[in-house]
């Protein structure tokens, strides 16, 4: 019950760090969606571009997160504020699942349906908004869900460069060899990930076309 005691006593700080954490995840996911969905649509419609784009996103994904944070640190404007840097790094990691699932979702729409739409005189824009996106939306959402879950975990590492978030507690706990402190950061982070997974999963099922 020591942990519970700790959380109760420090609920103010834990809450603040949780909100910071959420902000990092939300901002980076939003940017990743705003960039990744159009990019995924683009490469789904222009197959020659799909390979280089997906490979690029894959390569970013393979860079160890701590190294990426480190690499970005000396960059002038970015390095000024750790928060900017963390959001950029998290965005880069979130891109792959968003781009890949948008691409897969749109490519997965029944060609007969797309052809029927074209033959009926839908403009490319109408085809995208009325047919392709509604039919791909659950696949795209599942990519966003994966991106969010990854980001919640990765964002704990952002504390290493001073960006705040629940990682603060974890790193502090590691330094002080204090398991309670580590858990006080890790458990809320895990709960956030589970919650996001569940919530977006629910939305995904609601929007899945039959």
């Amino acid at each position: 019950m020591n942990l519970l005691h700790f959380l109760l006593q420090n609920h103010q700080e834990v809450l603040e760090l949780t909100l910071e954490h959420l902000w990092l995840v939300a901002a980076s996911t939003l940017i990743a969606v705003l960039l990744g969905v159009p990019l995924g649509i683009l490469i789904a419609h222009r197959p020659p571009f799909s390979k280089p784009v997906l490979t690029g996103a894959n390569i970013i994904q393979t860079v160890p997160s701590l190294a990426l944070f480190g690499f970005l640190l000396p960059v002038p404007w970015l390095g000024d504020r750790a928060e900017r840097l963390a959001i950029l790094a998290l965005t880069l990691y979130a891109l792959l699942p968003v781009v890949r699932n948008t691409y897969t979702g749109i490519r997965g729409v029944d060609p007969a349906v797309v052809e029927a739409g074209r033959a009926m005189g839908l403009t490319p824009r109408q085809l995208l908004t009325q047919v392709e996106l509604p039919l791909a939306v659950s696949v795209i959402l599942s990519g966003i869900r994966v991106a969010v879950v990854i980001s919640v975990g990765l964002a704990t590492i952002a504390a290493a460069v001073g960006a705040g978030g629940l990682g603060e507690l974890i790193f502090r706990g590691l330094a002080m060899v204090n398991n309670q402190l580590i858990l006080a950061g890790a458990i809320p982070a895990a709960l956030l990930a589970l919650l996001a997974d569940f919530g977006i999963g629910l939305l995904e099922r609601r929007l899945r076309p039959r």
């Binding site: 349906v113 074209r118 033959a119 839908l122 009325q130 039919l135 076309p209 039959r210």
Partner: protein, 262 residues
Amino acid sequence: MLADVAHDTNNDPAIEFRHVSYELPSGQVILEDFNLQVRRGEILVLLGRSGSGKTTTLKLVNRLLAPTRGEIQVAGDFGDDVIRLRRSIGYVIQEVGLFPHFTVERNIGVVPRIEGWPKERMHARTRELLQMVGLDAALASRYPHQLSGGQRQRVGVARALAADPAILLMDEPFGALDPLTRDELQREFIALQQRLHKTVLFVTHDLNEALRLGSRIALMEAGKLITVLPPEEFLRSDDALAAAYVRAFASGLNSSGKRGAS
């Protein structure tokens, strides 16, 4: 036949292919120097085996494909406006291609909706079309996956007719149906055509269907047009390929007759 006279006041063909060729980027020739006139109000059946270029011919009409050489004239002044051309041509395919996330009513109303029809008019048109293709009005709120294959294909026909196009392109629309349903839909389609007098370009590989529905049958083989004949003449044709079709058709009938007798 008398009813047709009124529609023949304009003698220009509804669709005309002039020296049309279509090649894939790889250089493979799909259609070669294809010439054909489709008359207003007729059902012209493109008959041929898979790979003979029937579907390509159809897709050239509504510009899903662009010819490599030659030109295709479609009645009505569309200029380069492909979208308007397509909206004035109905298209029915074997896979139906209904939008799975739209109800039957929304599927039928796709073109009217983007054309900005008022709600009441779309609603009335849907009822009218459902009745026309022999479907219960209660199906309007169903989704495609809740329908049988035959019902889906009827909705496909209703959708193609929604904005009252003068031309219908049909690519083996009844090909995936069981024989009884196919027979039913073919019969209803003939009855429908007697009321609507659309210009229909109809693709099939089934001679029985071609004979039954076609005003004329255009026989295709390896990207070339072999001959165009009305059904009765097709049966008597001394063209080698046409005769081969008729023989294959007759032997099917004979062997099943023999089985029935023994």
